[in-house]
């Protein structure tokens, strides 16, 4: 069974890599696909846990992730990217500097949050407690994506990434009741629908004089 836990650890590490990939990506379409891969990894972890722990709730969770996050959310987002905008990268700061900034932000955040508090929390579903580093890393990655980008779609991706981190945190820590977990999915789906309404009128978010102060 140890090999299964090692596989989970490797996939969790891969989640962190997808987070950095989305942050560094210049193309909106590739960012969405990166998020779809990230969600698929979460579904995979959930399925493996379902097999190891012989728990059907993990299997349901995995199916929900695939159906709502990998298929529906990706479909909605991809359809909202105009072909002419699919290559746009809004930030004037170069990717390298943005990634360095991202690293600094995440390392400081993780150091504060994990080393002070989460290090004392024992995971129930996983034998090694430092696995919690990955969901936390993903959470701050999502926050940074929201803060660093101006485009509506990039900010939505940051938000979905944040919620992905919560699902994986719940999975590693202990199985949260499935009804509560499902509401998180519903929440993301509706947010994406609202995004679709707003993005028709407004694609970029700049500072506005009327909303200052």
């Amino acid at each position: 069974m140890n090999i299964m836990y090692t596989i989970i650890y490797l996939i969790a590490a891969f989640l962190a890599i997808t987070g950095f990939h989305i942050q560094s990506e210049k193309y909106l379409r590739s960012m969405v696909l990166g998020l779809a891969i990230q969600s698929s990894m979460i579904a995979l972890i959930s399925f493996i846990f379902g097999i190891i722990l012989n728990s059907y709730t993990f299997i349901i969770l995995g199916i929900l992730v695939i159906f709502l996050r990998v298929i529906l959310v990706t479909y909605f987002l991809i359809n909202k990217i105009p072909r002419s905008l699919s290559y746009v990268y809004e930030s004037k700061v170069s990717t390298t500097y943005m990634l360095i900034l991202d690293f600094i932000f995440i390392i400081i955040s993780i150091f504060i949050v994990y080393s002070i508090s989460f290090i004392h929390i024992v995971t129930i579903t996983y034998p090694v407690k430092n696995i919690l580093l990955f969901p936390l890393l993903l959470f701050f990655q999502g926050l940074f994506l929201i803060a660093s980008r101006k485009r509506t779609i990039a900010q939505v991706l940051g938000y979905v990434e944040e919620e992905n981190s919560l699902i994986i945190l719940g999975v590693f820590l202990l199985p949260v009741p499935i009804i509560i977990e499902s509401s998180v999915f519903l929440d993301v789906l509706i947010l994406v629908v609202i995004f679709s309404v707003i993005s028709i009128e407004k694609n970029v978010h700049e500072k506005m004089e009327e909303l200052r102060g």
Binding site: I121, I124, L166, I180, D187, I194, F195, I198, L211, G213
Partner: protein, 441 residues
Amino acid sequence: MIIIPLIILVIPLIASIFYKNIKNSTTIGAIIEVFMLIPLYLLNPYKGFFYIDNVTFIFVLMVSSIYLLSTLYSRKYVHDIKNSGISENLYYLLMNFFYVAMEFALMVNNYGFMWVGIETTTISSALLLITEKSDTSLEATWRYIIIVSAGVTFAFISVILIYYSFGTLTVTTILAEKISDTLTVRLAVGIALVGFGTKVGIFPVHTWLPDAHSEGPAPVSAMFSGVLLPTALYVLYRIYEIFPMKGIFVWAGTISVLFAALFLSYQHNYKRMFAYSTMENMNIALIGLGTGTRIGLIGSLLLLLSHSFGKAGAFYTTGDILHISGTKEMDKISGFMANKRISASLLLSSFAVTGTPPYGTFFGEFLILYSVLSIHFYAQFIIIVFSLFIAFVSINLNVSRMIFRGKYEYSKKSGSIIPLISGIISIAIGIIFLVIINAIL
């Protein structure tokens, strides 16, 4: 007896079925909701799928009343909007969902479902902000969605940690257990303060608040200010009850009150000024709840109840002012004295939100300050008094300028009666409290 809270949740949904005539069905539904408070009061206390106690009842009373007032005020206001982002029927539909989400978050006996309720309020209310469509309102809506959702998502970690610590999310079961001082519980309460605090308007995660309040239509701003923020505060209070972290809660409230007072002192937009006033009042209520004393709790409930009517009145009045003057800039507005109804409701509501005696807000603030002193938080006490003074002077000075300064230009057009009623209820709450206290003593 689960049927009574269920009826409260179902009535607005039934009203929404009559989509073609939703304006009237919503109004009838809102009136029934206020009458449903009587059986709900008789049901109190109740523990089951729903959890109703005195605290819950006060919040439900607030939400139902402001929902009714906003529905009545919306009838003419929304109809007159020229550049509408959503249709009138959709407006009432979203308003109903928004109301149900708040009532659900208040009455449900489960931290997980409370979180669901709070998140649903964001989803249902977001599109209401673009009722008066403009580039600015779209930006404000987006900021509201993204900032509040990110904050409430953070609060989900708190829910996970509560479940991790207790193995259940049922409020009454957790509160019945002995207070357990573990790092996980502390972490859960602390994260809830930041997460749900985003919706309450705690500094520095308050940034969505002035934008949403200033760009939303007047009845929606009234709902946001009068009841949405208190609903989030209620959920935060229920989590605080698990393990009262007095120091952190009172300090967070104190710093937020100070910044709210400073921010509102230099506003040019009257809606933004009232929005920062909401931030100030919510954080004073948070301080009262955070003291963990009975006096603090009573003070907070009194403040919130009186504030909900006062602030709703203030926002309804801003709707009338915007309709008549066509601007949100305070410097461009003067001479409202000639319009007796608007000037009276503006004065009444601004006195209400700044804690002028004999309003309920004054007694609420007084009790909260007393409770802060009773737990020996002297530094916080001084900062709060200083902030209250700044807020009182800033708001009343600006409102006085709008009413008494310059030529009387707006005498011919009259405003709605709803803001005036709202302001009078706010003062009545203070007087009733005074009579009750006098009878007890």
